[in-house]
């Protein structure tokens, strides 16, 4: 484990909404081919932290951030870094499903490829099917690929957004509660997907489901009130945490 090199190294990341300090100096390393779970009480800044890592946070009016995040050694916040290019390498599945209402299911999945200029219809179709299968949605939508993306149910939309993020094949994938609206079977499929992704990529996933974190994540970070309380291998966080706050949270005595 220690021989793995770090794909992403976050150093002292801070984030604000106006005057509100939402993330207060988080530092974590993310090794290649690993899954890291972020857990913590609602409102503690998990989404905000994740949204800093693909620089979407700064698109919110009045929001800003500071600190460093080195993607393969290059600070993503450096002035010479183009956020557009960065976001092709760091994909995101948002907490709230957000398919494009004007696009069909098919178009939603391949829109990222189209943005990259790929027009080959066969390739687009092939990618759409592959990604929808991986997101455990293919069987449900294969006969209605040309219906509006927003005509799907909440859980289906969530999986559609996962497929959409997969299609661009980003080496780092940020997933914000990707199974919050899913039944246990679909959730299990998404967990399987994460394990698959780990073969090549790095996944950071926010979840409120402790069992899920313990099952799929190699590492777990525990966040509280915008601060990183504890970070380490999941088996240690969930069996023998060093901080009493972490123990209180995972045993349900708090939060």
């Amino acid at each position: 484990m220690t021989s793995k090199k770090n794909v992403l190294e976050v150093k002292n990341l801070q984030a604000w909404f106006g005057k509100f300090h939402a993330v207060k100096g988080v530092s974590t390393d993310y090794p290649e081919k690993s899954i890291t779970a972020i857990i913590g009480p609602s409102g503690c800044g998990k989404s905000t932290y994740l949204r800093c890592l693909n620089r979407i946070h700064e698109e919110v009016p009045g929001a800003r951030s500071s600190g460093q995040a080195l993607l393969l050694g290059q600070d993503i916040f450096a002035p010479e870094v183009d956020p557009v290019e960065l976001r092709q390498n760091i994909g995101m599945v948002f907490q709230k499903p957000n398919p494009f209402p004007a696009l069909s299911i098919f178009e939603n999945v391949v829109v990222g490829l189209k943005l990259q200029g790929i027009k080959n219809k066969a390739k687009l179709l092939e990618t759409a099917e592959r990604c929808l299968r991986k997101a455990a949605l293919w069987e449900e939508v294969k006969d209605k690929l040309h219906q509006q993306g927003t005509s799907l149910s909440g859980g289906q939309q969530q999986r559609l957004c996962i497929a959409r993020a997969l299609a661009v094949n980003p080496p780092v994938l940020l997933m914000d509660e990707p199974t919050s609206a899913l039944d246990p079977i679909a959730s299990a499929k998404i967990e399987e997907l994460m394990q698959d992704l780990k073969e090549d990529f790095t996944v950071i996933v926010v979840t409120h489901n402790m069992q899920q974190a313990a099952r799929v994540a190699d590492y777990t970070s525990f966040l509280m009130l915008g601060e990183l309380v504890e970070h380490g291998p999941s088996e240690i966080i969930f069996t023998n945490p060093k901080q009493s706050k972490t123990e209180d949270y995972i045993t349900g005595r708090f939060g």
């Binding site: 290019e85 957000n98 494009f100």
Partner: protein, 329 residues
């Protein structure tokens, strides 16, 4: 005891309030219904009066009023076609100029400029709507017409002069000048409705596009413009409705000629401008009646255009859409 009293006080009060509320509601309802009916009655009365005043011309010309091309008060030959044509051409040309600019200005205000700067620009655009028509007319006559004659016309002739619409002499006043004035006048209408449409695009849609590696421009096209297509269409049709009825400024700069000419530099007339320019001198019954007939036609055209615009805006507004979705669910 004291406790009971305070306990009692509240319910009695609220019942009394409820009663007066119900009574007030009834009065308000009757009042609203009366007003609504009165407005409807007024509308019908207006159409009826217009119809009655046009009757002489309707009897004389019938539907030929729309097909013959002569408007000659001396020979008592009347036809609405040149004005129908003028209205259509000026309004469409105004739309061609104003629609792209308005949509771009709206996008600038909502999604490109810093918030404060956008608000200032928005305010300026709204102020255009407050300028009286006659001021536009004066401005067009003394400022725009010379520019059209000396700069715009030569430019168009040298670049697109092979098209019949850009041939012939220019006197400054004419169809093109009127269209430009109209374009400026409908700009605020299209801009402010487009702005509302763009503002209703949720932030998370824009984030979805950006997170996929869209540039700012691609994000605007994908997450803002595409879902707004029908809303923009409605805004444009409403702008068209405004252009159709606009009178004073057009009457001052269009040149008032009842001849249909292919050239945009030539003078022309619209349905509203001919009424404004001729009704004072229209002594003879048939002339006056024909002007009323033109007015009746104009009324019908604007009614159709405006209601279809309202329909489009209503049908595709996010609120109506979600209401329909709820109904289906």
């Amino acid at each position: 005891m004291l406790n009971q009293q305070t306990h009692n006080a509240t319910p009695t009060k609220s019942i009394a309030k409820k009663l007066s509320g119900a009574y007030g509601d009834k009065v308000a309802k009757v009042f609203m219904q009366t007003v609504a009916l009165a407005i409807l009655a007024l509308l019908f009365l207006m159409v009826y009066l217009l119809f009655e005043m046009s009757l002489e011309a309707i009897k004389e010309f019938g539907f030929g009023f729309l097909t013959s091309t002569d408007w000659d008060p001396i020979m008592e030959e009347f036809s609405a076609l040149p004005f129908f044509y003028g209205t259509l051409v000026t309004s469409i040309l105004a739309l061609l100029i104003a629609a792209p600019i308005s949509v771009m200005v709206a996008i600038f205000i909502t999604d490109i400029l810093p918030v404060k700067l956008g608000q200032v620009l928005g305010l300026f655009v709204e102020m255009i709507a407050a300028i009286p028509s006659i001021v536009f007319g004066l401005w067009g006559l003394f400022f725009l017409a010379p520019i059209v004659r000396e700069q715009i016309t030569p430019l168009l002739k040298s670049t697109l002069g092979f098209l019949p619409i850009f041939q012939g002499p220019s006197f400054g006043i004419g169809v093109l000048t009127a269209s430009i004035i109209l374009a400026i006048m409908i700009l605020p209408t299209i801009t402010s409705i487009s702005r509302e449409v763009f503002k209703s695009v949720p932030q998370h849609q824009k984030e979805a596009a950006l997170a996929l590696g869209a540039t700012r421009e691609e994000m605007i096209r994908l997450a803002v413009l595409r879902p707004s297509f029908s809303g923009i269409t409605g805004a444009i049709v409403l702008g068209f409705g405004r252009a159709l009825g606009e009178t004073m400024a057009v009457a001052m700069v269009i040149g008032n000629s009842s001849r249909i000419s292919a050239s945009l530099f030539a003078p022309g007339a619209t349905m509203s401008s001919v009424i404004a320019n001729e009704y004072a001198e229209a002594s003879a019954g048939l002339h006056l009646s024909s002007l009323c007939y033109v007015g009746l036609l104009l009324f019908l055209v604007t009614l159709v255009v405006n209601s279809s615009a309202r329909f489009i805006v209503w049908k595709f507004s996010p609120i109506a859409r979600s209401a329909r979705k709820d109904k289906r669910a």
